[in-house]
Symmetry: D2
Subunit: 368 residues, 4 copies
């Protein structure tokens, strides 16, 4: 068996936004990973892992079929991706991160050092389409694993393996990327924390992952939008912004400043707060367009309720009127049925399947 | 057996907007009909029917289950709704029109004269919810019957029996009404005919049905919005307005005036024409609200494509901002899957089932 | 429009066992009917109908899609199969009986006299496969229409339109025939009536339909097994034979003789009675084979429980050993799920769909 | 954290036939494992693993939901079953073997040494029902993982996590055991190897696992049938016996003796060979009954074709006649649909779901 340092490996397809390190490839985001076409009878991946409370989870697919899913512990280690196979025929193998990018409170570091095999690596073609999914806990796959009575916020309940993005990608023969943060919104987090907004982290390689170690890995460097141009960007945000209206004000522990999206006594949203939200939607569309001049952008919403449906769509409409950019759209996805919830009252796997069905039909028509 | 003239029958639930005549009850709209709880061993309905090219079709449900569907021919006639049953137990029977309201080119008259039974009629309770569906050919059930290769525009392909409104009504234990016209829009018809808009006919009992005979039946009289107050109005319009943008101008055969919704060379909609459409959406919402001050109103869209999704939703948003009326909403329904089309490239029964599933989940939550 | 007497019509495909009369075609069995390829803009069928308690029900399919279903009343009459269509293109139309063959207590006569059209009739090709279904109430489609709370034994609850045989025929592009009697078995009826067995009526055109009028129509004449040779015969019997073991003895009202299939106190079947049943299975297989030397024969069982599964299959096995005829088989169909019952505690439409799925897969493999 | 040696742990439910060792619990069979109710915030399992070509795979379920699945490598090791959870509340955790018992060519040893937690273990109640599944590769879950183009015979394609037995157990709230060997039959293996028959290994704890090490673990000791009495035994055998008829003779490499189940030139089975098979079925039923006097026994068949359906059922029937033991039955399961195959042309997960649906309905009725 020969070891191929990741930094020297030609025939590897890298999934997800990242920046190659001196002798490692960091996997920051949900569904980030490496994909190879390997002729060997055996294939191993060498990893460097670090974590504390939130351990890393990874999954593998062989020839496009889900094969394994496991927790990783801190330390240098090798994972066998397959073995005892016939040497010669090509096996397509994808190794990817299940856990979303982790932020300031916690580091969950997953570095690919290299691959080892007794065969060789053949080129992995790009798929004919590229899709980028931007979202919150739904798009972090929270609840795609776990029993409905499980309500803690833990690594193991998140995935990209049983995930609408993964299913849509398979259905449409597309490479996918996921940019998501559970609890975050387009304006603020579920608890009115105004820092928890995706736009603020979208331009960097992995904006949410701060702290010295992450920063040294390059998370805060600008993402190279030329290197991977999605045919479509699917934005699935607004669910936490809707929650915020029902939560108390957030107080910044450092500055003492507060932030709150407010409801009127009659249950409607306070107009200026709603405008703050719709402005955030419009501004995010502008930002996405600046970064991705050629991509079709569709905002999707509804897997956990439709509270801000009109507000979001109205903002998309206003954006279209202001900018003349009609390569943008808005649709709703089916709300999670009562028997389709997973852990933590999040959409379970059947709900992701239902959403993927609608999105597949939609994108197939839009992308031709 | 005793004959009960419809005008004297107490215990009958009348479905659909109508006006009782001197000795008959006209069934104008799709799903209009009569429902009874009959103890008799046998039950007949006496009808007066007239039609030319577009014959009437009717269907029956017994104890809530679909039982029959047939074409009617002109003339006085009796239809047996059931027979040979045990006299005594209550049978719930609904007789209803499958064909949408027919307009100026054609009359399809269906009058209920009375019912005949050897038993008696017990009261039929109103269901705990009332739902009104306003739409186009989708809501006229076009394509819910017929093979996918059938492409003529004929009575037999329309229904309310295999219809998303019917399924939602059953799921939510709701009485339903349907107000729909195939080919019509909220601003204009699929062919840019500006007369073919639902708002212009919504206020009358059955606006589309003109001509002397229909008018004498009361179709142009104002609908009594006090008499039947829907908990929710589901507006499923925009599909034909989207078509219009791809069609040549419509020329009024009488005035010679033309009307056209235009596209720019780049495939976007001409701004003023789009505004004309979104104004129509807003104005229709105002009209619906005026007529139905207490109803929740949701605009749904997408079973035949999402072209105007943002435009419609933006208009709903603008309406909300202008009026402060937030008891309005917008969601999309799943586009018809490739294998779910029925006759005339319209949503087939499986597509209606899929739409009904999303709407049931949505309305169950909204209506509590 | 021109009238084509059924006796002179060349291009008609006749479904179901029957015997052409001097100026009519009787439709005896469930799914018996006529199928034409008509170029006319309009098509009518002329009928002669008679019935008393159990009225006839019929259904139509246009281009293979279900279109209508209605009750018929006694008398001469015309039914419009379609109208207002474009003259020229071919429309495939099937008109067929929903109600099973009716027996001695009751006549339900349905005679096709002719067809009327403004077009012409083109040949209707035989489908590449032929399937014959022999059964009881399940195969009479009892419960495929009607609410689950409906428990009377009435014409309207039976069908061949929402029927596993119809679905299998469509799936496999096969012409189908149905020979069935509700309540009957292979040895005796559900109530131990030993006359109610399918073997005794299988050889004649329509054995169950006795009485002077039926006999004059030819029901008791031998069926012409050369004229229609099924590729496969699907026997779905045993459900009523199983019931008989739990019922009191049947007393012949004329002879006073009694008949009973008995259970032992421990709930097993009395051996000699079980043998009587398994002999009946073997003998029926011999009879079927004599009549249909070239057909594959599969006994299916289970849509209403598996009580006699081993007994039936053991008899098929014994038959194979005795005769060396291995072109016979036995499989079970899925039992009706709790939410899939129709009227009268019989398999509803979803149960027929589930059975058809298993049978389609099975027959596709067996028939190649 | 405290370590609880498996030999001293009271509150553990052991799944699968096994024999506690001096300081370990061997997991021999598919779905064998340990289940605990743990209050700790963290839970680890200590293992001793050995394998060569066929590595062990394991899976976990937390609170009844699938959580992880991974390959194990030789050596002593700890697997974290969960961590970072709230200390106090009970978490139900099941750790189980995915790979079937491995035989003479290969050892795949999986020993549980103990569990480690910072909490305590509460009792795990037996479920109200017990089900034992006896079968071949279908029951070894071969093909429940892997792409349809994967055709090697490897550990990773087998499972008990996406398995009809697992689904039925969940549906019926039953504890399950699996006794299965891929390629084996009731008389002989797919290749006519007469040693590859389940009856020969059924009576021992884990008959197929020979070799010194396995024997020392107790695999060849008699199973304690008093200790775990299944309410029902589901035998899913015959698929490889059917294959054998189409394969060349097997020659014993040691004795040179040959064995072959033969076909006649007309495609039927040679009578004496078929009898050899049916005798094996009967004898296995006798053996099962001797070992399990109180269990209901149902032979199921068909997920990979129905070739021996009548032969098996006939043998069950003969067994019933000979013994009077009617607490036995025979049903077929749906054949795998064309789009439901998994790896190695074996039933994929959707096929297991379909089989589980039929079996659930069946057993729910039989077991009351």
């Amino acid at each position: 068996m020969k070891t191929y340092p990741i930094t020297e490996l030609q025939n590897v397809k890298i999934h997800g936004r990242t920046k190659m390190g001196p002798d490692f490839l960091p996997l920051f985001w949900n569904n980030s990973g490496v994909e190879v076409n390997c002729t060997g009878g055996e294939l191993w991946i060498d990893l460097e892992v670090d974590s504390a409370f939130y351990e890393a989870w990874i999954a593998t697919e062989i020839n496009g079929a889900f094969m394994s899913r496991q927790m990783l512990h801190p330390g240098s280690q090798s994972i066998c991706l397959y073995r005892s196979m016939t040497n010669g025929p090509v096996k397509n193998v994808k190794f990817f991160r299940e856990l979303q990018a982790m932020g300031n409170m916690e580091k969950t570091i997953l570095l690919v050092k290299g691959l080892r095999t007794d065969g060789e690596f053949l080129p992995v073609e790009d798929k004919p389409r590229k899709l980028e999914f931007v979202g919150d806990s739904i798009t972090s796959g929270e609840g795609t694993y776990g029993a409905t009575e499980d309500t803690e916020w833990l690594s193991m309940y998140m995935s990209s393996s049983r995930h609408y993005a993964n299913i849509v990608g398979r259905n449409l023969n597309a490479d996918i990327r996921i940019i998501s943060q559970g609890g975050w919104g387009v304006l603020c987090g579920w608890d009115n924390n105004p820092s928890c907004n995706l736009p603020s982290v979208y331009d960097a390689i992995c904006g949410p992952s701060i702290g010295d170690f992450n920063v040294r890995l390059g998370t805060q460097e600008p993402n190279d939008f030329q290197a991977w141009k999605p045919d479509a960007i699917i934005v699935n945000l607004g669910t936490n912004d809707a929650s915020a209206f029902r939560q108390p004000a957030f107080t910044d522990p450092v500055t003492g400043e507060t932030f709150q999206q407010r409801m009127n006594p009659d249950g409607t949203y306070v107009a200026e707060d709603l405008k703050r939200f719709t402005d955030a939607v419009k501004n995010f569309l502008k930002q996405l367009r600046k970064d991705n001049p050629d991509s079709f952008i569709v905002w999707v919403y509804g897997m956990l309720g439709y509270d801000l449906s009109v507000a979001i769509a109205g903002a998309v409409s206003d954006y279209q009127k202001e900018t003349g950019d009609f390569r943008t759209d808005y649709i709703t996805l089916p709300n999670t049925e009562a028997d389709a919830y997973g852990a933590h009252m999040h959409p379970g796997y059947p709900s992701h399947v239902a959403a993927a069905k609608v999105l597949t039909r939609y994108l197939a028509e839009k992308l031709g």
